[in-house]
């Protein structure tokens, strides 16, 4: 089974500050609340002329430069997004064309939000293995700046734009699995795009994450025969600092085992976990990881990653 060989990312240079006095006044919050609870000081914002596929191509190109891999060595490309350039064609086809990938390279999208990276790992590694393919790239690119309204306190302080590209291949640093998945489709209205604007029922999404993620992770660990303190690092979707801390407390693990990485970029949806994982690749002490994404759907997915080298 192929595993994770490398990860590269593209975070747009543009930033929007959550500490602007006018913004704090408008939403009746203070700097301490932004720092300690939301945890996002600055949100990454793509350029007005940058499309979803442009972010994806930048991440893919960064991966090719980082690994020295030729574009025609990629057998499959999967793009996780719910904010495509247009309804059709699929973003992966646009990326395929812009990056000059081989005609024999499979390309398809996964329409998932914050659980999409973990789903994508499972789908792409199975797709490669099942079809005798050597290498695939999993791209996440879901720029929420397209759909977040500037006057929506529930969302505007949270989301940032970014894209990542993960190379799955035969000589992995991390092998992913086992996985667990779940959906509360009856609660889908809690996080949805209506008439082009994101709408979030913060309490319902919070309750979902607070009550659902820790039991899912504990079940996954039990199935794998691994104790929660044997895990070197937990990489939860970076919904907000508050939700990450809530899940950590409910899971009952030490703070130093739980990664935070949203301060300077925001909640980058399906990119938040691979942005964290990109750092762990450089940390040989991180041998056993838990990845857990949760959000739109409402959907969740978790997996273990074990270091191979």
């Amino acid at each position: 089974m192929p595993g994770i060989e490398n990860i590269a990312s593209y975070v747009p240079a543009g930033r929007a500050s959550n500490l602007e006095p006018a913004l704090l006044e408008r939403f009746q919050i203070d700097e301490k609340f932004v720092r300690d609870k939301i945890g996002v000081l600055r949100r990454a914002v793509k350029g007005a002329d940058e499309e979803t596929s442009d972010l994806a191509v930048r991440a893919l190109q960064a991966l090719l430069e980082k690994t020295g891999l030729a574009a025609d060595a990629i057998d499959a490309l999967v793009v996780v997004t719910q904010n495509p350039d247009t309804n059709l064609p699929h973003v992966s086809a646009l990326v395929h064309g812009k990056a000059g990938l081989a005609a024999r390279c499979a390309a398809f999208d996964l329409g998932l939000g914050c659980s999409g990276y973990v789903y994508g790992l499972s789908v792409l590694q199975a797709f490669l293995a099942g079809n005798g393919l050597a290498r695939g790239v999993l791209v996440t690119a879901d720029p929420y700046s397209k759909i977040v309204a500037d006057d929506d306190k529930n969302t505007v302080l949270l989301f940032g734009d970014a894209a990542t590209a993960t190379l799955l291949g035969p000589v992995p640093v991390y092998r992913a699995g086992p996985f667990s998945f779940g959906t509360r489709g009856a609660a889908h209205e809690a996080l949805a795009c209506r008439e082009g604007r994101l709408a979030m029922n913060g309490r319902e999404v919070f309750n979902f994450a607070a009550t659902g993620v820790a039991p899912d992770v504990l079940g996954l660990l039990q199935r794998a025969g691994i104790g929660k303190d044997e895990v070197d690092a937990y990489l939860f979707h970076q919904g907000s600092r508050y939700i990450v801390e809530t899940i950590r407390a409910r899971l009952g693990v030490a703070q130093e085992r739980v990664r935070l990485g949203l301060q300077d970029v925001g909640n980058t949806v399906s990119s938040s976990i691979p942005l964290l994982l990109e750092r762990e690749l450089e940390n040989p002490e991180s041998r056993i990881l838990v990845l857990s994404g949760f959000g739109v759907g409402l959907s969740w997915a978790s997996c273990l990653c074990k270091r191979e080298k």
Partner: protein, 76 residues
């Protein structure tokens, strides 16, 4: 009907209030030093402890622990 004392016990167990001696169930959560995110944690704790779910309409009426008691009393 759930008592204020029971709601105060749940509040204390949540760890969200440093000094329960100064906590006034009649005052708003905000005036008791509980911000909007901690209110979500507290309401979830009450839901889990009492085995119930607040509707969005009920939550809209809740500003204090006394409001929680009133909302639950209105169900009876």
């Amino acid at each position: 009907m759930v008592s204020v004392e029971r709601l105060l016990q749940i509040t204390a167990a949540s760890g969200l209030v440093a000094d329960m001696g100064g906590f006034d169930p009649q005052r708003s959560f905000k005036d008791n030093g509980i911000d909007s995110l901690d209110v979500m944690t507290l309401l979830l704790g009450i839901e889990e402890d009492l085995g119930l779910k607040f509707s969005d309409e009920e939550v809209d009426r809740i500003r204090s622990l006394a409001d929680v008691q009133a909302v639950l009393a209105a169900r009876a």
